[in-house]
Subunit: 202 residues, 2 copies
DNA sequence: GTTAGCATGTAAGGAGTTACATGATTTT
DNA sequence: AAAATCATGTAACTCCTTACATGCTAAC
């Protein structure tokens, strides 16, 4: 009954593709990936995990410490989740093509974070889509500034100008990345199915 | 039965304190004030206006063109809203003191936009509160970067670095504003009760 | 006279948060 | 043995969006 499409699901799938994780740890990485802002709460995360299990995209992994642990299998209330075959397919589908979901504000960050698992051509389309989107916005703000310059007080004006500079800075950043990619200097080697470094547990 | 506390209400009150407006026009200014992002929809705005009328903070203004219009009072399906005495009181209360609501992400922008209607001491507290908040965040990101530098691929790393630079830039901006205020150079003259420039209608 | 933009609203639902409830493990 | 932090979850609620429904006015 839930739709729960969106950023959170993608981020969970993407992180679990690197290595199996339990909820608590997942949340911490999520808050890093989702970018300085957005602190996902457990009230969002656990229902999302439940939903993904229900769809068969992730599964509870049996306690991964098969007899190697401290004494016998202690501390097992942790539930470790891993990506299923269906989940990998779904992740590939989500990362496989560019579109508004990948370049709008909500969404760009996560898609970018998983660029190492994304095709080079798609990467380029997303970067260019994002840049276009921001250029539109920049023109909008500029026009608004010209239109309303007089009736604005100093603070409102300063806020608008700062917002404009932020967008301009973002566009420059994207342009540098695009140039870099175009010259054949990607920031990481594409790994369609990453050999999961088993940097697991804390 | 709605609580509807938050940014939208404040923005509406603040804008209506400058001049009476109808919903459609209000929305456009809202989207400028709320800062490049957040395009408020009518589905949010109109219920909010209703609620504020219910509380007696704003009121429908009689058609402001008393016999001066084109012929007789044409085009009156517009509903012009203005701030009531209670609304002004409420606005003064909301702008009257610094606190988390005024320096957290959601909230800072609007409070800043109405700095011209805010006491100089409160302005300073908000700017400093915001800066502290961002400095905390900056340290968090830096620590996370040091901790996880190895296990991150080039794109994730770039994203983190870009996020960090954004925060650093924001802190510099705030520091400049704080210095400016401290030297007694505010960006606008404080107007507790602004004589409303009747730049009305399109 | 039809398209584009102005203007006002409602109903349903999505995406998340807060507050609560519970308990195990580690550190001091 | 107390406090911190790890760990998992649920229920209620908030704020906002989307999609719909309606009609006026200006421009082409």
């Amino acid at each position: 009954m839930a739709k729960r499409s969106g950023v959170l699901e993608l981020a969970v799938l993407g992180l679990l593709n690197d290595s199996p994780l339990h909820g608590y740890e997942l949340r911490k990485r999520l808050n890093a990936v989702l970018g300085t802002f957005r602190a996902i709460s457990y009230g969002s995360l656990y229902p999302c995990l439940k939903e993904l299990v229900g769809r068969g995209w992730i599964a509870e992994d049996g306690p991964a410490d098969l007899g190697v642990g401290p004494a016998l299998s202690s501390r097992r209330n942790k539930i470790v989740y891993k990506l299923t075959a269906d989940g990998k397919e779904q992740l590939a589908e989500l990362l496989g093509h560019a579109g508004p979901a990948s370049w709008e504000d909500e969404g760009f960050g996560v898609h970018f974070a998983f660029f190492a698992q994304t095709d080079a051509a798609v990467r380029m389309q997303i970067l260019e889509g994002r840049r276009s989107r921001l250029e539109e916005r920049r023109e909008g703000v500029r026009a608004a500034l010209v239109r309303t310059r007089e009736r604005l007080d100093g603070y409102t004006l300063e806020l608008q100008k700062h917002g404009l500079e932020s967008v301009e800075r973002e566009v420059r950043w994207l342009s540098e990345l695009i140039d870099s990619e175009r010259r054949g200097n990607p920031l990481a080697v594409t790994t369609t199915s990453s050999a999961p470094t088993p940097a697991q547990d804390r």
